[in-house]
């Protein structure tokens, strides 16, 4: 087994300090002065309108982008100093893009890619690798499809396969970029249930970007609202959804209702005219 850095399920895993990120050709930074902690066995959702910097945040946490200013630390070490495969054993990222149609691989072969950070091309998979892959297939309810070509699976099955591939990395932190986009109720619910269960077992820190506020508020421990690259609200989902920042961020009057165990429903009422929104109110320190 490769060494694991830091204890699984430990507190403060990721620490962002005053992070600003600017794409080379862009005039405005995508993220500005962002200070956030992610850790413990907690389920955090990040919400925010399109262009708020959510996907940029994913790339920063995944080590694909380096901050222009500030620092990103993982387990107390700068993310920059992490070896790529060590990082892939600690953090798994489920991004938005679908696996290419031309890929000729079985579902099992696809999930096996998640073992890449652990195995060499020269040796066959160990019994332990096989076990991890088998467990992930069972967990995702995909046992019966293991030998089917990936291209033949439905959108919902493929999304579960992506999740299983990430779980096979045995990560301490799982980052997801809109995992329930384009999915029907049943598959979306399954994904959030499955994630919640793993977090509850103390096995995983989840950072999830989503537009589905009802599911987010139902399952998350904490919600962060991003607007124009800044965290304008953070805290328990109910509080964030009721904060005035939500309406001004989205430029839209909203009605928020508590649904008890089912979280909150957020109904858009009417769009505010452009410019009428009082801007992204005062950014709060989101810790």
């Amino acid at each position: 087994m490769p060494e694991s850095t830091g204890d699984r399920g430990d507190a403060a895993v990721y620490r962002l300090e005053d992070v600003t990120f600017r794409y080379p050709s862009a005039s405005a930074p995508a993220l500005r002065g962002l200070s956030l902690d992610f850790g413990g066995a907690a389920f955090t959702v990040v919400i925010g309108p399109n262009g708020a910097g959510k996907s940029t945040l994913v790339r920063l946490l995944g080590g694909i982008l380096d901050p222009s200013e500030g620092s990103v630390n993982l387990d107390g070490r700068p993310l920059l100093s992490w070896d790529r495969s060590a990082l892939a054993r600690r953090t798994a990222v489920v991004s938005q893009d679908a696996p290419p149609e031309a890929l000729r691989v079985s579902l099992r072969g696809y999930i096996e890619l998640g073992r890449n950070p652990y195995v060499s091309p020269w040796a066959p998979l160990t019994p332990r690798d096989e076990e991890v892959i088998g467990n992930a297939l069972t967990w995702a309810g995909l046992d019966h499809l293991a030998h089917r070509p990936l291209a033949e699976l439905s959108g919902g099955e493929r999304q579960r396969a992506k999740l299983a591939r990430a779980i096979v990395q045995e990560p301490g932190v799982l980052i997801l970029d809109e995992p329930s986009a384009h999915l029907d109720f049943r598959h979306a619910l399954w994904i959030f249930d499955a994630l919640r269960e793993r977090v509850r077992d103390g096995a995983l820190t989840v950072i999830c970007i989503t537009h589905d506020m009802q599911l987010a508020s139902r399952y998350a421990d904490r919600m962060i609202l991003l607007a124009e690259g800044e965290a304008v609200a953070a805290g328990p989902p109910g509080e964030v959804l009721r904060s005035p920042a939500l309406a001004s961020t989205y430029g839209c009057e909203v009605r928020v209702e508590s649904l008890g165990d089912l979280g909150h429903s957020v109904l858009p009422v009417r769009a505010r005219p452009r410019g009428a929104a009082s801007g992204a109110s005062s950014p709060i320190e989101a810790r």
């Binding site: 080590g63 694909i64 495969s85 892939a88 991004s95 696996p99 031309a102 890929l103 890449n116």
Partner: protein, 329 residues
């Protein structure tokens, strides 16, 4: 037995059959018994001995190694560009090598001999790669579209150089140069075969070491990075290996088309996208295909010899079309 195991066995059998027929058949008639005696070092007719050991054996070996080099090169290019139309000569290697070879054959006449031509071709191929990569890397990160554009343009430039030399050359030299560009293993000897073998083995080993990362790369560069690949390093290494293999293959055997495009693609259709299977099985298939094609090139219109590149296309295209139809039906 697994599908992969059956495939490997079948391809090894095919390669064996191809190699045996390559040793038995040729412009001259040599009895199978004499071929056997020559190979096993027993007493035999000296001319049969020379034909088998100095002509046919190095030629069969060179054909197999060229097939391996071109197939691995094509497999890498297709993985890197995520495009089944990518082929070994994409980055201008073939026109660079052609310019080197044509320069050796026309400007220097026959003075340089076969090895001299190979050396010039290799220098030309490497020069083309060098220019293409310098341009593509000047923008920082290795950008695929810059790389391909640079390849196309450099290719056109070297191609113009070839035309220029041919238009000025003597008819005899022109004929030799044109034949070279069609691809031939006619003059493959042990020296060039040894060099080819070393590069093919090194390149094959290095590509296999990258195989898991190449698999991840099929999901996109970002996804591959999240799966632990140092994407930029993997891409640069793979481009370099692929280009070097193509340069060495083209300098010993001329421009043999089709093998590096179709064998990797066919292997992917049959055995799937996993490079740990694709690389070795493709290499076996490429070796068998080229040995077979070269044998046909030698005996089809005996004693006249066809350019092997013509045979690979004439035999390969129909086969490939059948495969394509069945695979997507």
């Amino acid at each position: 037995m697994t599908r992969t195991g059956r495939g490997a066995l079948l391809l090894m059998l095919l390669l064996a059959v191809a190699a045996v027929s390559g040793l038995l058949l040729g412009a001259a008639n040599v009895a199978p018994a004499d071929v056997w005696r020559a190979l096993t070092g027993q007493e035999t007719d000296p001319s049969a001995r020379t034909i088998v050991l100095s002509l046919r054996l190095p030629r069969v070996t060179a054909a197999a190694l060229t097939g391996i080099a071109l197939t691995i090169s094509g497999t890498l290019f297709q993985a890197l560009l995520r495009n089944p139309l990518a082929e070994p000569y994409l980055l201008g290697v073939s026109s660079g090598a052609a310019l080197g070879a044509v320069l050796a054959l026309t400007a220097f006449g026959g003075v340089l001999g076969y090895l001299g031509t190979v050396g010039f071709a290799l220098a030309g191929g490497l020069a083309a790669i060098g220019i293409v990569f310098r341009v593509a890397l000047a923008v920082g990160r290795l950008h695929t579209h810059v790389l391909i554009l640079a390849g196309v343009v450099v290719s056109a430039f070297f191609g113009a150089g070839v035309m220029l030399l041919l238009s000025l050359a003597e008819p005899d030299a022109t004929r030799a140069a044109v034949l070279w560009t069609m691809g031939s293993l006619e003059r493959a000897g042990w020296e060039s075969t040894l060099a080819l073998g070393l590069v093919a083995v090194a390149g094959g080993t290095a590509s296999f070491a990258l195989s898991r990362h190449l698999n991840a790369l099929a999901l996109g560069e970002e996804a591959a990075a999240y799966l632990g690949a140092r994407v930029e390093l993997v891409r640069r290494s793979a481009y370099f290996i692929a280009s070097l293999l193509a340069a060495v293959a083209v300098s010993t055997a001329g421009v043999i088309g089709f093998v590096g495009l179709v064998i990797p693609h066919g292997a992917r259709m049959i055995w799937g996208s996993d490079h740990r299977r694709l690389l070795p099985l493709g290499a076996l298939g490429g070796a068998a295909a080229l040995v077979l094609a070269d044998t046909v090139a030698r005996v089809a219109l005996r004693p006249l010899e066809l350019p092997v590149g013509v045979v690979t296309a004439l035999l390969g295209v129909p086969l490939f079309l059948v495969l394509l139809r069945r695979s997507y039906a």
